[in-house]
Amino acid sequence: MSETPDNAVLSIEHLGVRLPAGADRPHALSDVSLSIASDEILCVVGESGSGKSMMANAIMRLLPNDVTIDGGRVMFEGRDLASASVAEMRRVRGAGIAMIFQEPMTALNPLRTIGDQIGEMFSIHTELSKAEIGAKVLALLADVRIPDPKVAAKAYPHELSGGQRQRAMIAMALALDPKLLIADEPTTALDVTTQAQILKLIRDLQQRRKAAILFITHDFGVVAEIADRVVVMQHGAIVEQGAANTVLNDPRHAYTKQLIAAVPPLKAPPPRALSAENILTISGVSKTYRTGGFLGRGARVTPTVRDVSLVLPRGATLGIVGESGSGKSTLARCIVRLIDPDAGAILLEGNDWAKMTRENVRRETRHIQMVFQDPFASLNPRRKAAELVAQGPIVHGTPRAKAIADAKELFALVGLDPSAGDRFPHEFSGGQRQRIGLARALALKPAVLVADEPVSALDVSVQAQVLKLLAELRQRLGLSIVFITHDLRVAAQICDLVAVMKDGAVVEQGLAGDVFGNPQHPYTQALLASIPGGDFTRKRDAALL
């Protein structure tokens, strides 16, 4: 399996990494062998916990203290990094192998300018003068296509957008012309349009600079976009590797097949008949944030939701799609009145939710319930699962014993073992927690469910399961759903209607098939074009028909 080409920059041979006692498995990596040629992008794909990030850290010898390499070699420039001294490793890091991280905001020092931080690479590793360093920094920033490098060099990290920060990180990584660049989920925290630009930049830089890139990702769409070769990991071992085309179009291992199948199709499912009656009518809703300023002086006014009007037919699913900062989450919170809208009306079951008093909202809240994004943050860690689900009915007057008994039934409904009710949230996986969150929302038998990015924090295969569950429940309970997501692929799978939001306003709305099949607004077209692996998915979908 491990063919070592002559031009290999890095070759890992039978690498094993041991986890401390008490971890969920004894080895983070076992018998991992791969090699990267000097002119290729190698994608390492796997779901969370597959050991892909651990491998990157093992190469750089940046493992946590109680995690140790317990076998194999990491050959780089004729040296075994697994047994290199600390001083040797320091020379390799940055100069020989550089790294880009997922979250550029936390990887950059917030108190120093971008130019300063890139320049530091030179002042540590080289003897260049200040003027020379300054010139090199500008050249690098120009190289990663940051608009106006001179301004960017003087900016602090918080003054740049997420995409620009990631470009700055890439410039820093490239500063010393490393032979190998390790990119650990570099686009996961970015919006889809920015992600497309960064992927293009990485591809571009690789060709211009002839550096090898080890690209770690969980997204097969990204793989299709960028990889020359692919390594698929599961539970700390490599299950399949080969040329990108071969793996994508002719996967051998069952796990690879499952991952590729879980990449959602781009086309909306055939339209369902929609009810003529609207259960939820949103008209002219606006929300503006005012920050700072004393007695009105110097206040900053940020309109977050601007005059949004939408309708949700009974039993339908309305997708609200947009990038971060588009106001979609604020809108969702206005609908359930976690946030009070400034203007507009939200009509549900004959009540105007935008104008109800807080006490009335509290009493009527069983009509509309919310599912939250982060399955780790949305469950109180100190309550047992059954209690979490029973809380709502208890608050509204159901006797405790009955509420707990009902909770167990709901567990079965969302596909959890009813006996799991006695466990605490941390004993569940992400997907299971999201099911608990769903059961909690359903416990009050709501007519409308507002789901705020309910699957964004989940692995693709789990995503598919939760989406399937949502679709089933919609059918069985006659639910109407407002589905907030940044991921068009997810929206395409479940939504009947789609509204695209940008800068607080809805720029396009309509039937899912129309919006995805024939987008009218340039922003919608840009979003659709930016989906990673779009060509691959379209080809696959065509082949399936």
């Binding site: 359930v336 509290r362 982060d374 100190r382 809380q391 608050v395 509204h396």
Partner: protein
């Protein structure tokens, strides 16, 4: 259960716990070893420790048994430390929870009050309270508690500020919970660990505050406390230094024990901080 295991893995925390248990044992066994009033005259004044087997730790300048006063003093120190800490933490949680949860003008008012208390030096405020309300054991304990609440209040407020916008609190709100249910049932249990850890600091300071009061002879003179003994020993400090030194060591050990236990709790309840 994990937290208990982590606690016992730290030698310092175990040592602190052992010390604290010794102090508690002293307080419990005082009546057994010294059934008589510890403040009654027992023998010749100023007997050096270990020179007379009847008075293991010697006698003070009025001829009272130091060993008996040390054992009974453990009761007073633990009582004042415990009750004053409970008062301070309760006021602190109440103020901090409301300020942090409601924000806005509630927060502004409560925090300005807290700051007013914080800008006054603790001990000066304590002196004023004792001067006004007298120095019985009850007033001293309450006064110590009343001057110690601002720091726990700020800590609780900070925890509430970060927790109140968490998704599980928002989820509780969408389920229709009342504010008081959210504060007590959802946020407080999650905000509590750092406050409990901080309680050990409050307790150590409370014990020291009482001793300092007693050193100035402003604490309750009718109870056998370590501070009172140090205050008495002041008059003979240059020659019979042991009268002040022995209760001083007792205070040192107790405060050390409480601090070590607090540190141990901190590491056990926040395991991620420890591995740093």
């Amino acid at each position: 259960m994990d937290a208990v295991k982590r606690y016992f893995r730290s030698p310092a925390a175990v040592a602190g716990l052992v010390l604290l248990l010794i102090v508690i044992a002293m307080a419990i066994s005082a009546g057994f070893f010294y059934p008589r009033d510890p403040l009654a005259l027992a023998g010749r004044p100023l007997i050096w420790p270990f020179s007379n087997p009847r008075f293991l730790l010697g006698t003070d300048n009025s001829g009272r048994d130091i060993a008996a006063q040390i054992l009974y003093g453990a009761r007073i120190s633990l009582l004042i430390g415990g009750v004053a800490t409970a008062i301070a933490i309760l006021i602190g949680i109440f103020v901090g929870a409301f300020a942090g949860y409601y924000g806005g003008w509630v927060d502004t008012v409560l925090m300005r009050v807290t700051e007013a208390f914080q800008t006054l030096p603790n001990f000066v405020l304590l002196l004023v309270l004792v001067a006004v309300f007298g120095s019985t054991l009850t007033t001293v304990t309450i006064a110590v508690g009343v001057v110690s609440w601002p720091a726990p209040a700020r800590l609780t407020r900070a925890e509430f500020l970060s927790l109140r916008n968490r998704e599980f609190v928002q989820a509780g709100r969408t389920l229709g919970m009342r504010d008081i249910q959210l504060i007590l049932g959802e946020i407080l249990p999650n905000a509590l660990p750092p406050v409990i850890v901080y309680a050990s600091v409050v307790m150590a300071v409370a014990i020291l505050l009482e001793s300092a009061l007693a050193f100035l002879r402003l604490s309750d003179p009718n109870v056998a406390s370590w501070g009172n003994l140090i205050g008495l020993g002041r008059d003979v400090l240059r020659v019979q230094w042991y009268v002040s030194a022995i209760p001083g060591i007792a205070i040192l050990m107790t405060v050390l024990a409480v601090s070590l236990v607090g540190q141990g709790l901190n590491d056990a309840l926040n395991p991620r901080l420890k591995s740093r």
